[in-house]
């Protein structure tokens, strides 16, 4: 099984505004790190232009990232143990805070490329019911067989 991941963020200003300039300039290097990271499988792309964000029907201010990884450890190492962490640290400069879950994971069979609609369904699921085997987080992680997991060492 592979691990699919969705995160959504509401922009505080238009993507082409000066407020978002540092974020947009970080896209290319960070995507380059993701694409060459050990255990990276796939990510949804609008085009080959790394600064072009995925457009969708869920609102112009909503930024989405959708990707697939070989394992929990591979995704963790990209999210928290790479230059991606600095982008996360500065998230409040660029995105609205939300009390609702904005990131989640779920297991997919190898070769499956999740659609955005399918991923947004999972987001609704975790927002309605909290983490479970079908939609979960690093903090409350579930194994492919549905059992809760323990945290990873750094």
């Amino acid at each position: 099984m592979h691990l699919a991941q969705l995160n959504v963020a509401h922009l505080v200003a238009p993507i082409d505004s000066s407020t978002l300039a540092d974020f947009v300039s970080a896209l290319e290097p960070v995507y380059r790190i993701a694409d060459s990271a050990p255990g990276f499988v796939w990510r949804m792309q609008a085009s080959d232009d790394p600064t072009e964000v995925i457009t969708h029907e869920y609102g112009d201010d909503l930024l989405v990232n959708l990707s697939v990884w070989e394992s929990r450890e591979a995704l963790w190492n990209f999210v928290y143990r790479s230059p991606h962490l600095e982008v996360l640290r500065r998230r409040r400069e660029w995105f609205h805070r939300t009390a609702e879950p904005y990131t989640l994971m779920w297991w997919v069979r190898e070769g499956h490329r999740p659609s955005l609609a399918e991923s947004m369904d999972r987001l609704r699921l975790i927002r309605a019911d909290g983490p479970g085997p079908d939609a979960f987080t690093f903090k409350e992680f579930y194994e492919p067989d549905g059992t809760p997991a323990v945290p990873l060492p750094l």
Binding site: N77, R89, F138, P153, L154
Partner: protein, 212 residues
């Protein structure tokens, strides 16, 4: 912990931990200045106690027939040991407080407090250099390409459950340590890698010394 009472064993543990990689018996024996068989005995005691982990690896580039069997190598075990008499449980409290900071959206305040804490720690320490101060704080600093990197994350347990909060606070605390030492020209930034602390220090002359 009594396993570490023996001074040879303690030196071997420290040597393996400081390397941050797999270490062979011969290398460890030479470093500590004891016979290889004695080193092997103590290293295996440390493995039994769960302080070191063991692996098998070829220590030379040869492979195939005649290259010999893989050598036993040692590295520091991932788990942590804490001794507290009388019993104390700061870990659970840290996890609860981290959760509270998240709920209150208090990341910025947490970073500000961490920065001030760093300043106070630096002021209270007798150390005057950042590497020495980081060593005293348990970060296990080492040098790489002119930067100071940190082998150990002193906040690992809450960093696993609240990585964003704890790494941001750690960065702020390191900024505070520098400020407290009056070493404000040294830069510190997030530069995380798997298995290490999330920050790295750049010397003040970094980026400007190439012309000298």
């Amino acid at each position: 912990m009594s396993v570490l009472a023996d001074s040879v064993r303690r030196s071997l543990y420290r040597f393996v931990a400081d390397r941050g990689r797999d270490v062979g018996r011969g290398e460890a024996a030479d470093a500590v200045g004891v016979q290889r068989t004695l080193a092997a005995f103590h290293l295996d005691k440390l493995v039994e106690a769960g302080l070191l982990e063991v692996g098998f690896r070829r220590l030379n580039d040869r492979s195939g027939p005649g290259s010999g069997r893989p050598a036993k190598v040692y590295r520091r075990a991932a788990g942590e040991r804490t001794v507290s008499l009388p019993p104390r449980d700061y870990r659970t409290l840290a996890l609860v407080l981290a959760e509270v900071v998240d709920l209150l959206d208090g990341n910025e305040q947490a970073e500000a407090v961490a920065r001030r804490t760093g300043e106070r720690l630096a002021a209270a320490s007798e150390q005057t250099g950042i590497a020495e101060l980081l060593a005293e704080r348990g970060y296990e600093p080492y040098e790489e390409d002119g930067r100071i990197r940190l082998r150990n994350c002193p906040f690992q347990v809450p960093a696993q459950t609240h990585p964003l909060l704890v790494c941001s606070m750690n960065l702020a605390m390191c900024q505070g340590l520098l400020r407290g030492l009056g070493a404000g020209r040294t830069a510190v930034r997030l530069d995380p890698r798997p298995g290490e602390c999330c920050v790295a220090f750049l010397p003040p002359e970094d980026g400007s010394s190439k012309n000298n």
